[in-house]
Protein backbone atom coordinates (compact mmCIF):
# COMPACT_ATOMS: atom_id res chain seq x y z
CA UNK A 1 0.00 0.00 0.00
CA UNK A 2 1.47 3.37 -0.97
CA UNK A 3 0.76 6.21 1.39
CA UNK A 4 3.50 8.56 0.27
CA UNK A 5 2.68 11.79 -1.49
CA UNK A 6 4.67 14.47 -3.25
CA UNK A 7 4.20 18.26 -2.93
CA UNK A 8 6.63 19.79 -5.39
CA UNK A 9 9.97 18.43 -4.27
CA UNK A 10 8.64 17.70 -0.77
CA UNK A 11 8.05 14.01 -0.25
CA UNK A 12 5.86 12.93 2.66
CA UNK A 13 5.85 9.28 3.78
CA UNK A 14 2.13 9.62 4.35
CA UNK A 15 -0.41 12.37 3.66
CA UNK A 16 -0.93 13.39 7.30
CA UNK A 17 0.58 16.55 8.75
CA UNK A 18 -0.56 19.06 11.37
CA UNK A 19 -1.85 22.59 10.96
CA UNK A 20 0.46 25.47 11.81
CA UNK A 21 -0.27 26.94 15.23
CA UNK A 22 -1.76 23.74 16.64
CA UNK A 23 1.47 21.87 17.19
CA UNK A 24 3.87 24.47 18.59
CA UNK A 25 7.37 23.74 17.36
CA UNK A 26 7.03 19.96 17.54
CA UNK A 27 9.10 19.38 20.67
CA UNK A 28 6.13 20.12 22.95
CA UNK A 29 4.38 16.94 21.75
CA UNK A 30 7.48 14.75 21.59
CA UNK A 31 6.74 13.36 25.08
CA UNK A 32 3.31 12.17 23.97
CA UNK A 33 3.77 11.29 20.29
CA UNK A 34 6.28 9.71 17.93
CA UNK A 35 6.62 12.63 15.53
CA UNK A 36 8.47 10.46 13.02
CA UNK A 37 5.21 8.67 12.21
CA UNK A 38 3.77 11.86 10.68
CA UNK A 39 4.04 12.84 7.02
CA UNK A 40 5.56 16.16 8.11
CA UNK A 41 5.62 18.47 11.15
CA UNK A 42 4.27 21.96 10.47
CA UNK A 43 5.33 24.61 12.97
CA UNK A 44 3.78 27.86 14.16
CA UNK A 45 4.14 30.99 12.02
CA UNK A 46 7.46 32.81 12.11
CA UNK A 47 8.23 36.31 10.95
CA UNK A 48 11.61 38.04 10.93
CA UNK A 49 11.46 39.48 14.47
CA UNK A 50 9.92 38.20 17.71
CA UNK A 51 6.21 38.86 18.14
CA UNK A 52 4.56 39.31 21.52
CA UNK A 53 1.04 38.46 20.39
CA UNK A 54 -2.40 39.64 21.50
CA UNK A 55 -3.73 40.27 25.01
CA UNK A 56 -5.82 37.59 26.75
CA UNK A 57 -8.34 36.02 26.57
CA UNK A 58 -6.98 34.65 23.33
CA UNK A 59 -9.37 31.74 22.85
CA UNK A 60 -13.04 30.98 23.37
CA UNK A 61 -14.86 27.70 23.00
CA UNK A 62 -17.94 27.73 20.76
CA UNK A 63 -20.30 25.02 19.55
CA UNK A 64 -18.21 22.33 17.83
CA UNK A 65 -15.24 24.63 17.53
CA UNK A 66 -13.23 27.43 19.01
CA UNK A 67 -12.10 30.96 18.31
CA UNK A 68 -8.54 32.09 18.60
CA UNK A 69 -6.77 35.40 18.36
CA UNK A 70 -3.24 34.55 19.46
CA UNK A 71 -1.70 37.21 17.25
CA UNK A 72 1.09 35.00 15.88
CA UNK A 73 3.22 35.17 19.03
CA UNK A 74 6.61 33.84 18.08
CA UNK A 75 10.37 33.98 18.56
CA UNK A 76 11.33 35.43 15.16
CA UNK A 77 13.70 33.71 12.73
CA UNK A 78 16.78 33.86 14.98
CA UNK A 79 14.90 32.75 18.08
CA UNK A 80 13.35 29.87 16.18
CA UNK A 81 16.70 28.71 14.82
CA UNK A 82 18.28 28.93 18.27
CA UNK A 83 15.50 27.41 20.37
CA UNK A 84 13.55 25.05 18.16
CA UNK A 85 15.53 24.09 15.08
CA UNK A 86 18.11 21.92 16.94
CA UNK A 87 15.26 19.54 17.88
CA UNK A 88 13.38 19.70 14.58
CA UNK A 89 16.47 18.95 12.49
CA UNK A 90 16.88 15.62 14.31
CA UNK A 91 13.50 14.39 13.05
CA UNK A 92 13.39 11.84 10.25
CA UNK A 93 10.35 13.57 8.75
CA UNK A 94 10.35 16.96 7.04
CA UNK A 95 9.55 20.20 8.86
CA UNK A 96 7.24 22.64 7.14
CA UNK A 97 7.91 26.16 8.44
CA UNK A 98 4.99 28.56 8.31
CA UNK A 99 6.26 32.08 7.56
CA UNK A 100 4.72 35.53 7.41
CA UNK A 101 5.60 39.19 7.24
CA UNK A 102 4.12 42.64 7.11
CA UNK A 103 5.61 43.42 3.71
CA UNK A 104 6.49 41.54 0.54
CA UNK A 105 10.16 42.19 1.33
CA UNK A 106 9.85 40.66 4.78
CA UNK A 107 8.25 37.47 3.45
CA UNK A 108 11.10 37.16 0.97
CA UNK A 109 13.73 37.83 3.61
CA UNK A 110 12.31 35.17 5.92
CA UNK A 111 12.22 32.75 2.99
CA UNK A 112 15.87 33.56 2.22
CA UNK A 113 16.90 32.97 5.83
CA UNK A 114 15.27 29.55 5.94
CA UNK A 115 16.67 28.66 2.53
CA UNK A 116 20.14 29.41 3.89
CA UNK A 117 19.50 27.34 7.03
CA UNK A 118 19.49 24.08 5.09
CA UNK A 119 17.41 21.00 5.88
CA UNK A 120 14.00 22.67 5.88
CA UNK A 121 11.27 20.53 4.24
CA UNK A 122 9.12 23.32 2.86
CA UNK A 123 7.89 26.81 3.57
CA UNK A 124 4.21 27.52 4.06
CA UNK A 125 3.30 31.12 3.28
CA UNK A 126 0.76 32.37 5.77
CA UNK A 127 -1.25 34.95 3.86
CA UNK A 128 -4.42 34.31 5.78
CA UNK A 129 -4.10 34.95 9.53
CA UNK A 130 -7.14 37.03 10.56
CA UNK A 131 -5.70 38.20 13.88
CA UNK A 132 -2.98 40.67 13.11
CA UNK A 133 -3.37 44.27 12.04
CA UNK A 134 -0.92 44.32 9.18
CA UNK A 135 0.26 41.44 7.10
CA UNK A 136 -1.42 38.10 7.19
CA UNK A 137 -4.88 38.27 5.70
CA UNK A 138 -4.35 41.40 3.61
CA UNK A 139 -2.00 39.41 1.38
CA UNK A 140 -4.50 36.61 1.11
CA UNK A 141 -7.53 38.66 0.12
CA UNK A 142 -5.97 40.68 -2.72
CA UNK A 143 -5.02 38.64 -5.78
CA UNK A 144 -2.34 41.08 -6.97
CA UNK A 145 -0.65 41.23 -3.53
CA UNK A 146 -0.81 37.47 -3.20
CA UNK A 147 0.90 37.08 -6.55
CA UNK A 148 3.66 39.51 -5.46
CA UNK A 149 4.28 37.72 -2.17
CA UNK A 150 4.50 34.28 -3.76
CA UNK A 151 6.71 35.53 -6.59
CA UNK A 152 9.06 37.29 -4.15
CA UNK A 153 9.40 34.14 -2.04
CA UNK A 154 9.83 32.05 -5.16
CA UNK A 155 12.76 34.27 -6.17
CA UNK A 156 14.21 33.96 -2.65
CA UNK A 157 14.26 30.19 -2.24
CA UNK A 158 14.30 26.85 -3.99
CA UNK A 159 12.49 25.22 -1.07
CA UNK A 160 9.02 23.90 -1.86
CA UNK A 161 6.46 26.68 -1.31
CA UNK A 162 2.99 26.01 0.03
CA UNK A 163 0.61 28.97 -0.03
CA UNK A 164 -2.00 28.87 2.74
CA UNK A 165 -5.14 30.45 1.34
CA UNK A 166 -7.78 32.42 3.22
CA UNK A 167 -11.38 31.19 3.36
CA UNK A 168 -12.48 34.81 3.51
CA UNK A 169 -12.82 35.47 -0.23
CA UNK A 170 -15.88 35.34 -2.48
CA UNK A 171 -14.18 32.93 -4.89
CA UNK A 172 -11.01 31.03 -4.10
CA UNK A 173 -10.19 30.06 -7.70
CA UNK A 174 -8.36 33.27 -8.73
CA UNK A 175 -6.27 33.12 -5.55
CA UNK A 176 -5.38 29.49 -6.16
CA UNK A 177 -4.40 30.28 -9.75
CA UNK A 178 -2.38 33.37 -8.76
CA UNK A 179 -0.40 31.34 -6.22
CA UNK A 180 0.25 28.56 -8.73
CA UNK A 181 1.25 30.94 -11.52
CA UNK A 182 3.62 32.84 -9.20
CA UNK A 183 5.49 29.64 -8.44
CA UNK A 184 3.82 28.03 -5.44
CA UNK A 185 4.37 24.26 -5.43
CA UNK A 186 1.26 23.52 -3.42
CA UNK A 187 -1.67 25.12 -1.60
CA UNK A 188 -2.90 24.77 1.95
CA UNK A 189 -6.68 25.16 2.15
CA UNK A 190 -7.83 26.64 4.46
CA UNK A 191 -7.08 28.91 7.42
CA UNK A 192 -9.46 29.88 10.24
CA UNK A 193 -12.70 31.69 9.42
CA UNK A 194 -13.13 35.25 10.78
CA UNK A 195 -15.70 35.14 13.58
CA UNK A 196 -16.60 36.41 17.03
CA UNK A 197 -18.27 35.42 20.31
CA UNK A 198 -20.05 37.55 22.89
CA UNK A 199 -20.83 37.04 26.56
CA UNK A 200 -24.44 38.15 26.85
CA UNK A 201 -24.28 38.62 30.64
CA UNK A 202 -21.38 41.05 30.56
CA UNK A 203 -21.98 42.26 26.96
CA UNK A 204 -18.28 41.86 26.39
CA UNK A 205 -16.54 40.10 23.51
CA UNK A 206 -15.14 36.76 24.61
CA UNK A 207 -11.79 37.54 22.98
CA UNK A 208 -9.64 40.52 23.99
CA UNK A 209 -9.06 41.03 20.25
CA UNK A 210 -12.89 41.20 19.85
CA UNK A 211 -12.78 39.08 16.68
CA UNK A 212 -10.79 35.95 15.93
CA UNK A 213 -10.54 32.91 13.73
CA UNK A 214 -13.02 30.05 13.95
CA UNK A 215 -11.60 26.51 13.74
CA UNK A 216 -12.65 22.99 14.59
CA UNK A 217 -15.26 20.57 13.23
CA UNK A 218 -17.79 23.37 12.68
CA UNK A 219 -15.75 24.72 9.73
CA UNK A 220 -15.21 21.39 7.97
CA UNK A 221 -18.03 21.82 5.42
CA UNK A 222 -16.69 25.28 4.49
CA UNK A 223 -13.16 23.97 4.11
CA UNK A 224 -14.27 20.97 2.02
CA UNK A 225 -15.97 23.24 -0.48
CA UNK A 226 -12.91 25.48 -0.72
CA UNK A 227 -10.63 22.49 -1.34
CA UNK A 228 -12.99 21.22 -4.03
CA UNK A 229 -13.09 24.63 -5.75
CA UNK A 230 -9.33 25.18 -5.49
CA UNK A 231 -8.64 21.70 -6.85
CA UNK A 232 -10.75 22.45 -9.90
CA UNK A 233 -8.81 25.68 -10.49
CA UNK A 234 -5.20 24.43 -10.34
CA UNK A 235 -3.02 21.41 -11.06
CA UNK A 236 -0.71 21.81 -8.04
CA UNK A 237 -1.36 19.62 -4.97
CA UNK A 238 -3.40 20.80 -2.01
CA UNK A 239 -3.07 20.14 1.71
CA UNK A 240 -6.64 20.08 2.96
CA UNK A 241 -7.46 21.24 6.48
CA UNK A 242 -10.33 22.57 8.54
CA UNK A 243 -11.96 20.65 11.36
CA UNK A 244 -10.46 17.23 10.70
CA UNK A 245 -10.86 14.99 13.75
CA UNK A 246 -11.25 11.51 12.23
CA UNK A 247 -10.02 9.40 9.33
CA UNK A 248 -13.39 9.84 7.64
CA UNK A 249 -13.00 13.62 7.79
CA UNK A 250 -9.54 13.33 6.25
CA UNK A 251 -10.74 10.99 3.50
CA UNK A 252 -13.48 13.46 2.58
CA UNK A 253 -10.79 16.12 2.03
CA UNK A 254 -8.80 13.75 -0.20
CA UNK A 255 -11.94 12.95 -2.21
CA UNK A 256 -12.63 16.69 -2.57
CA UNK A 257 -9.21 17.10 -4.19
CA UNK A 258 -6.57 17.25 -1.46
CA UNK A 259 -3.31 15.31 -1.83
CA UNK A 260 -2.43 15.60 1.85
CA UNK A 261 -4.31 16.73 4.96
CA UNK A 262 -3.53 18.51 8.21
CA UNK A 263 -5.02 17.93 11.64
CA UNK A 264 -5.45 21.24 13.44
CA UNK A 265 -7.66 22.08 16.41
CA UNK A 266 -8.17 18.38 17.21
CA UNK A 267 -4.52 18.28 18.36
CA UNK A 268 -5.56 20.50 21.28
CA UNK A 269 -8.14 18.08 22.64
CA UNK A 270 -6.85 14.77 21.31
CA UNK A 271 -3.11 14.82 20.57
CA UNK A 272 -3.28 11.32 19.03
CA UNK A 273 -5.68 12.42 16.29
CA UNK A 274 -3.13 12.40 13.45
CA UNK A 275 -2.29 8.77 14.24
CA UNK A 276 -5.95 7.78 14.45
CA UNK A 277 -6.41 9.42 11.05
CA UNK A 278 -3.48 7.51 9.59
CA UNK A 279 -4.66 4.15 10.95
CA UNK A 280 -8.23 4.77 9.78
CA UNK A 281 -7.06 5.81 6.33
CA UNK A 282 -5.19 2.52 5.88
CA UNK A 283 -8.19 0.56 7.10
CA UNK A 284 -10.40 2.44 4.61
CA UNK A 285 -8.01 1.77 1.73
CA UNK A 286 -7.95 -1.95 2.55
CA UNK A 287 -11.72 -2.06 2.74
CA UNK A 288 -12.02 -0.29 -0.63
CA UNK A 289 -9.20 -2.37 -2.14
CA UNK A 290 -7.00 0.64 -2.87
CA UNK A 291 -3.25 0.31 -3.16
CA UNK A 292 -2.31 3.97 -3.50
CA UNK A 293 -3.62 6.87 -1.46
CA UNK A 294 -3.38 9.05 -4.55
CA UNK A 295 -6.34 7.16 -6.00
CA UNK A 296 -8.50 9.01 -3.51
CA UNK A 297 -7.44 12.52 -4.50
CA UNK A 298 -10.17 14.27 -6.44
CA UNK A 299 -12.27 11.11 -6.70
CA UNK A 300 -15.55 12.89 -5.90
CA UNK A 301 -18.43 11.37 -7.84
CA UNK A 302 -20.70 14.19 -8.96
CA UNK A 303 -23.89 13.67 -10.94
CA UNK A 304 -25.43 10.40 -12.10
Amino acid sequence: MNLSVQLGSLRMQNPVTVASGTFGYGAEYAQLLDLNQLGAVTVKGIRLNPVRGNPTPRTAEVTSGMLNAIGLQGPGVDGFIEKYWPFLRTLAVPTIINIWGTSVEEYAEVARRFDALGGVGALELNVSCPNIKEGGAQFGTDVALLRQVVAACRAATRLPLITKLSPNVPNIAPFARAAAEAGSDALAVTNSVPAMAIDAETRRPRLANVTGGLTGPCIKPIALKLVWEAAKAVQIPIIGMGGIQSATDAIEFLIAGATAIAVGTANFYEPQTAFHVLAGLQEYMERHRMTDVRELTGSLRVGA
Binding site: Q31, Q73, F268, Y269
Partner: protein
Protein backbone atom coordinates in the same frame (compact mmCIF):
# COMPACT_ATOMS: atom_id res chain seq x y z
CA UNK B 1 3.20 14.00 31.17
CA UNK B 2 1.09 11.03 30.18
CA UNK B 3 -2.07 10.87 28.09
CA UNK B 4 -4.36 8.09 29.23
CA UNK B 5 -7.95 7.02 29.41
CA UNK B 6 -8.53 6.32 33.09
CA UNK B 7 -11.44 5.06 35.14
CA UNK B 8 -13.52 6.97 37.66
CA UNK B 9 -13.18 5.21 41.01
CA UNK B 10 -15.31 7.49 43.15
CA UNK B 11 -17.32 10.62 42.50
CA UNK B 12 -19.18 12.45 45.23
CA UNK B 13 -20.74 15.78 45.96
CA UNK B 14 -18.76 17.38 48.77
CA UNK B 15 -21.04 20.35 49.35
CA UNK B 16 -23.36 22.57 47.34
CA UNK B 17 -21.84 22.75 43.83
CA UNK B 18 -18.55 21.10 44.80
CA UNK B 19 -17.56 17.59 43.74
CA UNK B 20 -14.64 15.29 44.43
CA UNK B 21 -13.59 12.92 41.65
CA UNK B 22 -11.12 10.09 42.22
CA UNK B 23 -9.39 8.50 39.24
CA UNK B 24 -7.46 5.26 39.04
CA UNK B 25 -4.24 6.24 37.26
CA UNK B 26 -1.31 4.13 38.50
CA UNK B 27 1.16 5.59 36.00
CA UNK B 28 0.21 9.22 36.59
CA UNK B 29 -0.39 9.39 40.36
CA UNK B 30 3.22 8.76 41.47
CA UNK B 31 4.46 11.58 39.21
CA UNK B 32 2.25 14.32 40.65
CA UNK B 33 3.97 17.32 42.26
CA UNK B 34 2.15 19.92 44.40
CA UNK B 35 0.40 22.56 42.29
CA UNK B 36 0.30 20.55 39.07
CA UNK B 37 -2.87 19.99 37.09
CA UNK B 38 -4.68 17.39 34.99
CA UNK B 39 -6.18 18.25 31.60
CA UNK B 40 -9.42 16.33 31.35
CA UNK B 41 -11.50 15.49 28.31
CA UNK B 42 -15.09 14.91 29.29
CA UNK B 43 -16.00 12.38 26.63
CA UNK B 44 -19.82 12.80 26.79
CA UNK B 45 -19.41 16.49 25.88
CA UNK B 46 -19.93 16.30 22.15
CA UNK B 47 -20.12 19.94 21.11
CA UNK B 48 -17.70 21.37 23.66
CA UNK B 49 -14.43 19.97 22.43
CA UNK B 50 -11.70 21.32 24.63
CA UNK B 51 -10.17 19.67 27.65
CA UNK B 52 -10.73 21.23 31.08
CA UNK B 53 -7.78 21.87 33.42
CA UNK B 54 -8.18 20.91 37.10
CA UNK B 55 -5.66 21.29 39.90
CA UNK B 56 -4.74 17.95 41.35
CA UNK B 57 -6.09 17.67 44.90
CA UNK B 58 -4.70 14.44 46.35
CA UNK B 59 -2.42 11.76 44.93
CA UNK B 60 -2.24 8.47 46.76
CA UNK B 61 -0.74 5.20 45.56
CA UNK B 62 -2.34 4.54 42.18
CA UNK B 63 -5.08 7.19 42.37
CA UNK B 64 -5.36 10.93 42.16
CA UNK B 65 -8.32 13.19 42.75
CA UNK B 66 -9.64 16.57 41.77
CA UNK B 67 -12.02 18.86 43.60
CA UNK B 68 -14.14 20.99 41.32
CA UNK B 69 -17.06 23.37 41.29
CA UNK B 70 -19.95 22.88 38.86
CA UNK B 71 -19.85 26.19 36.98
CA UNK B 72 -20.42 25.58 33.27
CA UNK B 73 -21.30 22.96 30.69
CA UNK B 74 -17.99 21.11 31.09
CA UNK B 75 -18.28 20.63 34.83
CA UNK B 76 -22.05 20.07 34.47
CA UNK B 77 -21.37 17.08 32.17
CA UNK B 78 -18.53 15.91 34.39
CA UNK B 79 -20.83 15.99 37.44
CA UNK B 80 -23.15 13.51 35.69
CA UNK B 81 -20.42 10.89 35.31
CA UNK B 82 -20.35 7.81 37.47
CA UNK B 83 -17.75 5.45 38.90
CA UNK B 84 -16.58 2.98 36.26
CA UNK B 85 -16.88 5.47 33.40
CA UNK B 86 -13.74 6.50 31.46
CA UNK B 87 -12.15 9.94 31.29
CA UNK B 88 -9.26 10.94 29.06
CA UNK B 89 -6.59 12.82 30.98
CA UNK B 90 -3.21 14.36 30.22
CA UNK B 91 -1.30 14.68 33.49
CA UNK B 92 0.57 15.71 35.48
CA UNK B 93 1.11 19.08 33.81
CA UNK B 94 2.73 22.39 34.65
CA UNK B 95 5.28 23.73 37.09
CA UNK B 96 3.87 23.59 40.59
CA UNK B 97 4.83 24.97 43.99
CA UNK B 98 8.36 24.56 45.33
CA UNK B 99 8.06 22.47 48.49
CA UNK B 100 9.91 24.38 51.24
CA UNK B 101 12.95 22.45 52.43
CA UNK B 102 13.27 21.49 56.10
CA UNK B 103 14.41 24.39 58.27
CA UNK B 104 13.44 27.05 55.73
CA UNK B 105 10.67 29.67 55.92
CA UNK B 106 7.28 28.98 57.50
CA UNK B 107 4.78 28.33 54.73
CA UNK B 108 1.66 30.49 54.75
CA UNK B 109 -0.91 29.12 52.30
CA UNK B 110 -3.62 31.41 50.96
CA UNK B 111 -6.61 29.89 49.20
CA UNK B 112 -9.73 31.34 47.66
CA UNK B 113 -12.62 28.85 47.56
CA UNK B 114 -11.70 25.60 45.83
CA UNK B 115 -8.17 26.98 45.33
CA UNK B 116 -7.69 24.99 48.57
CA UNK B 117 -7.54 21.82 46.50
CA UNK B 118 -4.39 22.92 44.67
CA UNK B 119 -2.57 23.42 47.99
CA UNK B 120 -3.26 20.13 49.72
CA UNK B 121 -0.24 18.23 48.36
CA UNK B 122 2.01 21.15 49.24
CA UNK B 123 0.82 21.05 52.85
CA UNK B 124 1.17 17.29 52.92
CA UNK B 125 4.70 17.21 51.52
CA UNK B 126 6.07 20.25 53.30
CA UNK B 127 8.37 19.22 56.16
CA UNK B 128 7.45 22.50 57.89
CA UNK B 129 3.90 22.91 59.04
CA UNK B 130 2.38 26.34 58.66
CA UNK B 131 -0.90 28.18 58.47
CA UNK B 132 -3.60 27.95 55.80
CA UNK B 133 -5.71 31.06 55.22
CA UNK B 134 -8.86 30.17 53.36
CA UNK B 135 -11.56 32.56 52.24
CA UNK B 136 -14.85 32.24 50.42
CA UNK B 137 -18.12 33.99 49.85
CA UNK B 138 -20.17 31.77 52.18
CA UNK B 139 -19.57 28.94 54.65
CA UNK B 140 -20.41 26.43 51.92
CA UNK B 141 -17.48 27.68 49.80
CA UNK B 142 -14.96 26.70 52.47
CA UNK B 143 -13.64 23.26 51.63
CA UNK B 144 -11.23 20.58 52.90
CA UNK B 145 -10.53 22.32 56.19
CA UNK B 146 -10.45 18.99 58.04
CA UNK B 147 -8.00 17.54 55.49
CA UNK B 148 -5.51 20.28 56.33
CA UNK B 149 -6.11 20.04 60.08
CA UNK B 150 -5.51 16.29 59.86
CA UNK B 151 -2.05 17.12 58.49
CA UNK B 152 -1.41 19.19 61.59
CA UNK B 153 -1.84 22.57 59.92
CA UNK B 154 -3.61 25.53 61.46
CA UNK B 155 -6.54 26.75 59.31
CA UNK B 156 -7.91 30.30 59.54
CA UNK B 157 -11.22 30.87 57.82
CA UNK B 158 -12.82 34.03 56.46
CA UNK B 159 -16.14 34.40 54.67
CA UNK B 160 -17.49 37.50 52.97
CA UNK B 161 -20.91 37.05 54.60
CA UNK B 162 -19.51 36.10 57.99
CA UNK B 163 -21.28 32.73 58.00
CA UNK B 164 -18.06 30.96 59.01
CA UNK B 165 -14.86 32.22 60.61
CA UNK B 166 -13.91 35.86 60.44
CA UNK B 167 -16.07 38.14 58.27
CA UNK B 168 -14.22 39.70 55.36
CA UNK B 169 -11.53 38.82 52.88
CA UNK B 170 -8.82 36.20 53.27
CA UNK B 171 -6.14 38.85 53.02
CA UNK B 172 -7.21 40.48 56.33
CA UNK B 173 -5.97 37.74 58.69
CA UNK B 174 -3.01 37.22 56.35
CA UNK B 175 -2.05 40.86 56.71
CA UNK B 176 -2.41 40.62 60.50
CA UNK B 177 -0.15 37.58 60.54
CA UNK B 178 2.45 39.32 58.38
CA UNK B 179 2.36 42.34 60.67
CA UNK B 180 2.94 40.01 63.60
CA UNK B 181 5.73 37.95 62.01
CA UNK B 182 6.57 38.48 58.37
CA UNK B 183 10.24 37.58 58.57
CA UNK B 184 10.83 33.93 57.88
CA UNK B 185 7.55 33.26 56.14
CA UNK B 186 6.83 32.32 52.55
CA UNK B 187 3.47 32.72 50.81
CA UNK B 188 1.79 30.26 48.47
CA UNK B 189 -1.54 31.21 46.91
CA UNK B 190 -4.24 29.82 44.65
CA UNK B 191 -7.57 31.50 44.00
CA UNK B 192 -9.28 34.21 41.95
CA UNK B 193 -7.01 36.74 40.22
CA UNK B 194 -8.00 39.74 42.45
CA UNK B 195 -7.03 37.66 45.51
CA UNK B 196 -3.71 36.70 43.93
CA UNK B 197 -3.01 40.31 43.18
CA UNK B 198 -3.81 41.32 46.77
CA UNK B 199 -1.49 38.57 48.05
CA UNK B 200 1.20 39.80 45.70
CA UNK B 201 0.82 43.35 47.11
CA UNK B 202 1.16 42.07 50.67
CA UNK B 203 4.22 40.02 49.71
CA UNK B 204 5.82 43.14 48.30
CA UNK B 205 4.82 45.31 51.27
CA UNK B 206 6.27 42.84 53.79
CA UNK B 207 9.18 41.73 51.58
CA UNK B 208 8.30 38.05 51.72
CA UNK B 209 8.55 35.65 48.79
CA UNK B 210 5.29 34.44 47.24
CA UNK B 211 4.37 31.76 44.73
CA UNK B 212 1.08 32.27 42.91
CA UNK B 213 -0.90 29.70 40.94
CA UNK B 214 -2.21 31.79 38.04
CA UNK B 215 -5.42 31.19 36.14
CA UNK B 216 -5.89 32.02 32.45
CA UNK B 217 -8.14 30.50 29.75
CA UNK B 218 -6.41 27.30 28.77
CA UNK B 219 -6.72 25.35 25.58
CA UNK B 220 -4.10 22.66 24.77
CA UNK B 221 -2.51 22.45 28.25
CA UNK B 222 0.86 21.37 26.87
CA UNK B 223 2.33 24.60 25.56
CA UNK B 224 1.51 24.59 21.85
CA UNK B 225 -1.46 26.92 21.47
CA UNK B 226 -0.21 29.97 23.42
CA UNK B 227 -3.71 30.75 24.72
CA UNK B 228 -3.07 30.76 28.49
CA UNK B 229 -0.29 33.35 28.59
CA UNK B 230 0.57 35.57 31.56
CA UNK B 231 2.63 38.77 31.46
CA UNK B 232 5.98 38.07 33.10
CA UNK B 233 8.93 40.44 33.62
CA UNK B 234 11.76 40.02 31.16
CA UNK B 235 14.74 42.37 31.39
CA UNK B 236 13.45 45.94 31.30
CA UNK B 237 10.19 44.86 29.74
CA UNK B 238 7.83 41.87 29.88
CA UNK B 239 6.93 38.85 27.81
CA UNK B 240 4.04 36.41 27.66
CA UNK B 241 4.70 33.07 29.33
CA UNK B 242 2.41 30.05 29.25
CA UNK B 243 0.53 29.29 32.45
CA UNK B 244 0.31 25.62 31.36
CA UNK B 245 4.03 25.16 30.88
CA UNK B 246 6.15 27.84 32.58
CA UNK B 247 3.31 28.05 35.17
CA UNK B 248 0.73 27.73 36.55
CA UNK B 249 2.86 28.71 39.55
CA UNK B 250 4.88 31.91 39.15
CA UNK B 251 7.04 33.97 41.50
CA UNK B 252 4.83 36.93 42.48
CA UNK B 253 7.66 39.40 41.81
CA UNK B 254 7.74 38.30 38.18
CA UNK B 255 4.08 38.97 37.39
CA UNK B 256 3.11 42.13 35.49
CA UNK B 257 -0.49 42.83 36.48
CA UNK B 258 -3.24 44.41 34.39
CA UNK B 259 -2.70 48.16 34.25
CA UNK B 260 1.03 47.87 34.95
CA UNK B 261 3.51 48.05 32.12
Amino acid sequence: MIEQTVQILAHERVADQYFRLVLRAPEIAPLVQPGQFAHVRVLPLKEALLRRPFSIFQANGDTFSILYKRVGKGTEALAQMEPGEPLSVIAPLGNGFAVPPRGSETPLLVAGGYGMAAMYLLAKRSPQKGVVFVGGRRAVDILCVEDFRALGWEVRITTEDGSLGEKGLVTQPLQAELQRAAAGSRLYACGPTPMLRAVSRLAEQFSVPAELSMDEHMCCGVGVCLACVIRVKSGESWEYQRSCTEGPVFDARQIVWEGQS
